[in-house]
Amino acid sequence: MLATPPWLILLVAAAALGFLRPSWRPLLVLGAPLLALYGVWQMADGVLLSAPFMGYQIELVSSSPLRRLFATVFLLICLVGGLFALRHARWWEQSAALAYAAGALGVCFAGDLITLFLAWELMVIFSTVVVWCGGTPAARRAGIRYAIMHLIGGVILKIGVEGIVTQTGTYQIQALPLDNFYAWMVLAGILVNAAAPPVSAWLADAYPESSPTGMVFLSAFTTKTAVLSLILLFPGESVLIWIGLFMAFYGIIYALLENDMRRMLAYLIINQLGFMLCGVGIGTELAINGAAAHAFSHVIYLALLVMCAGAVMIQTGKRRYSDLGGLARCMPLTASCMMVAVLSLSALPLTSGFIAKAMIAQALVEQEQILLWLLLTATSAGLVIVGTRMVWLVLVRERKRDVQASDPGWNMRAAMVAFAALSVLLGSFPELLYGMLPYVTDYQPYRAGNVINQLQLLLFAGLAFFLLHPLLKRTSAVSLDFDWLWRVVGFRLLRLVVESLLKLFQGAEQFAQTLGQRCWQDIVRLAGPYGYLGRRWTATDMLLCMVGLVGALLLYRFLL
């Protein structure tokens, strides 16, 4: 059954928001995701809506359990993120966020590559607007870099999609073997959105510059639609395992280095995406279930962390660890929610992080990928350090005298409590999440041995933090990332090329000018009023000249 496409509900709401009275807007911001959520849960499997488009019959809504799972979590973000932003964000940010969510839902339910591409570009446009809603010069610059990167990614994806459509004649979404150039282009286009290195830096560059409310939406949609697309198009491609492993390590190391709370969260997103890509790369039913479950739970606890960081930023005006401290005293509810999010991030039993990561770990063991298991488990230990460091520096460590704060307004508190409760609820009753997964599973995360092993890992990693945290200095510095390649090296190279070309043109102009001047001087010297040809000749000279010319002409005719 399909009454209206869920993405259309959000698009209409986004368009209508500006025309409503301010007092009516909350109704639309909260009502539209709820209505769309109801529509998603009423959907049957299969193609539910198709339409002709430029000679193709495109499938605008195609449903399956996997697609509904992602759509559900996106709409939860839309709803709870909307609640969080209710009294703080301007209406145009909320409108852009709704349109951005519509794009994400469009990707979720796209039955073919053409619809996927269109929804993809819708996301690019409105996510850029959400970044710009940060309202600072840094946000404007980061938004431009973000748009350039994603438009390039879109072009790469389009080349791949067009190639596949013209080569095979099919454009339905199905597993694509990586045996031709166009499939690789589709993969590359999706990996841009998945923040895979070497183009990962857009995430840590743009997201932290958005508004405290805008980052809640940004943290969920773009990267997780990429994960969904990878599950649908490239399940079991081993190249994803190695990319995912690199992302897990790269994300955790940069998160450990960061002094900026929001940039640290951006690197955590990359780290967690690494886990999901590993799951997709393994490609077994359990691994795909694990990747999907991890995407679901990660969206919730990461959004919770982003909300807590946003609440701290709104209430204190600060986002760097070196400027914060001791906030547990004055922001107890925010502190409690942050603790829940950090515990979930660390995959503590009874939180949503545990039930999802345990599945990916089990899939790795079943495929005898023990080395991979060890490496990913090592990054999990790193997550404990990152999370404990955040709690320590923001909530516990001695308070800065100039930081005066209290918990944020009721809507922000309600949004944070909702996601904290959901995180614990899913962790305590894993069947709630497992029941929505694409494959039926009887996996049991809560075996005594599993729980004890996980507790050992987390508690001893926590002890390592207390011993080694002085090494992680809170320097007010920026960490060079891959974007250094285009922000500095690339720009300097471009400037060098432009300057060289300018010099070349200047040299050519000067040469032409000098040559022209010399030619003119020679002509003047030869034929000017005082030149050889310009002066008065004697009759003898004229006669000799004429004789010479006639002689040369005769000789020429005689010889030829």
């Binding site: 507790l455 002890l463 007010s476 720009f491």
Partner: protein
């Protein structure tokens, strides 16, 4: 000393870190009583996960410190690096 200071003061912080140590050590003997998942050879070893968690966390911190020496720049680096700003 206020109630908040008691909760988050140096004494309380010391106490919580010792409590964490105690809890961590308690998980070691628990391994004898529960059935190990036995997924691979060293999964059954006593304290393997504890040692692995401690070592890998420590190594990651050291690795991050080393990487930091290479990649850290002053905060206004991009503003006056002549880059795309």
């Amino acid at each position: 000393m206020s109630r908040d200071d008691k909760l988050l003061g140096p004494f309380s912080r010391r106490l919580s870190s010792r409590l964490l140590l105690l809890l961590a050590l308690l998980t070691l003997p628990l391994q004898w009583w529960v059935e190990s998942p036995g997924r691979f050879m060293f999964d059954d070893w006593l304290g393997f996960h504890a040692g692995f968690g401690f070592l890998s966390a420590g190594l990651l911190v050291l690795l991050a410190s080393l990487v930091g020496v290479i990649v850290k720049r002053r905060r206004d680096y991009y503003d006056d690096s002549g880059g795309l700003e």
